[in-house]
């Protein structure tokens, strides 16, 4: 299994690389090399922090390369901000467009009595048909850390409740996204990454 992790200098890749290697994947990191995206068999877009960081994907020419890889049918997994980037955008950085594979927009959790960000282990309500979350039992927990989230739609692969229901995972064809951090979610997270590495699209 060969997988290409997209480095756009948004945070620390160490944990993601370590988890993929632990599962036996042959991992390469783009580090500015567009040719690696063009020849990729599978793509992972990690991401922590601010949605505005995805501006670097446009600035470095990665966006069109990723778009054509997705059009070729390359399995793509976006993690956290990497998932949000698959949507049309986020109110966190309204001037910065997302890829627009999913039409909705990401928004901040509504202010109220609960803390924002949503940090910690929360459970997944998994849709039956999900390939990414196959084998994840009802109520298994994964680790989240975020203030913005995608809305629940027919393409949500899993729903989590915090203040309100939101899309914990999204899935369509060769496109996969997770709001949580599978690389930090113990055995459950490793199972999900393994499903991605083995997904036939």
């Amino acid at each position: 299994m060969r997988v290409t992790v997209i480095d756009y200098k948004a945070g620390n890749l160490t944990s993601v690389l370590k988890a993929l290697r632990h599962l036996g994947a042959e991992v390469e990191v783009t580090d500015g090399n567009l040719a690696l995206v063009e020849s990729a068999e599978r793509l992972v877009l990690p991401g922590v922090g601010h949605f505005a960081a995805t501006r670097r994907l446009d600035a470095t020419g990665l966006t069109p390369a990723i778009r054509s890889a997705i059009a070729r049918g390359v399995p793509f997994l976006g993690i956290c901000v990497g998932m949000q980037w698959l949507y049309s955008g986020s109110t966190e950085a309204p001037e910065q467009p997302g890829l627009g594979c999913f039409a909705e927009q990401c928004t901040r959790f509504p202010e109220g009595s609960e803390k924002i960000p949503h940090v910690g282990w929360n459970s997944l309500d998994v849709r039956n048909s999900s390939r990414l979350l196959a084998g994840v039992a009802p109520g298994e927990f994964v680790y989240f850390t975020h203030s913005y989230k995608a809305p629940v739609t027919a393409e949500s692969a899993a729903v989590t409740h915090y203040i309100e229901p939101f899309a914990a995972a999204v899935e369509r064809g060769n496109l996969f996204g997770v709001q949580f951090h599978p690389e930090k979610s113990g055995a459950t997270g490793l199972k999900i990454l393994k499903n991605f590495l083995e997904a036939a699209c």
Binding site: A10, G11, T14, G49, P117, V119, G120, W121, K184, S185
Partner: protein, 259 residues
């Protein structure tokens, strides 16, 4: 439902886990990588590795320890102790930590919080606050004093006000240790924890004073803590994170039970 986190804390010195009282009479308690893996397997939601000696010479040893510990660990992993600069933090992240905990360096230069956060994300920066109630203040809890040097030297800041500033400067979480409760095994300082937790929107991790399972239930309910640090509880009576969580679940505390 979002669960309350139980965070296992390992004090390390010269590449080994140590147990001791107030940093003296240290007893060897095993290999950090082995201990961290065991806690994660038994249901700890997160691991904190604290370099309790944090000497300049010991830096390379610490980075080796972090690297070895991170290798097979797939839950959030925080490293604290002796991180004075953004470069120190970067080295710890490169070695495999997900978060760093900073304390006296943040008090000395609060801009360090934002500096680390801009490169690695706010979620990666925990500001640790050691506080003691101020019996002379109008409100001893709200006006609790921040201390450095293991609780020996006042930092000239109030805990609630410093926690607010840390949040504004981009801290992702607060690790609050009550110096009054620490080492007593008589329970967390729930009033102090609640005062800080209600003053900020970021999660607060309670530390210091745990002696029984009921103390944890109390700091989550009355102390409004989002997480609690468990260190010596595993040495006195409660055998594992799983045992602790099973008892907490029976008390109605939402926790993640390991599969």
């Amino acid at each position: 439902m979002l669960t309350k986190r139980i965070i296992a804390c390992l004090d390390v010195h010269a590449g080994r886990v140590v147990k001791g009282v107030q940093f003296v009479d240290l007893v060897d308690a095993g290999d950090p990588a082995t201990q961290a893996a065991r806690h994660a397997r038994e249901g700890a939601d997160e691991i904190v590795l604290l370099d309790i000696t944090a000497t300049h010479e010991g830096r390379q040893t610490l980075l080796d320890t972090v690297r070895r510990t991170a290798r097979e660990l797939f839950v959030p992993f925080c490293v604290g102790g002796g991180i004075r600069t953004a470069r120190d933090a970067e080295q710890v992240f490169e070695a495999g930590a997900d978060k760093v905990s900073i304390n006296s360096a943040a008090l000395a230069d609060p801009s360090l919080i934002g500096e680390i956060g801009r490169s690695f994300g706010a979620q990666a920066v925990i500001v640790a606050i050691d506080a003691r109630r101020d019996p002379l203040a109008a409100d001893p809890v709200r006006d609790a004093q921040v201390f450095v040097n293991g609780g020996r030297k006042p930092a000239g800041r109030r805990a609630v006000e410093w926690a607010r500033e840390a949040e504004q400067r981009g801290a992702g979480e607060i690790l609050l240790t009550s110096m009054d409760a620490d080492g007593t095994r008589a329970g967390f300082d729930c009033e102090l924890t609640a005062a800080v937790s209600q003053a900020v929107s970021i999660p607060v991790i309670a530390s210091g004073g745990a002696g029984t399972v009921a103390h944890f239930a109390e700091v989550f309910a009355r102390g409004k803590a989002d997480a609690a640090l468990a260190a010596s509880i595993f040495h006195f009576g409660v055998s594992s994170a799983r045992a602790l969580k099973e008892e907490l679940a029976a008390c109605g505390v939402p926790v993640r039970l390991p599969c």
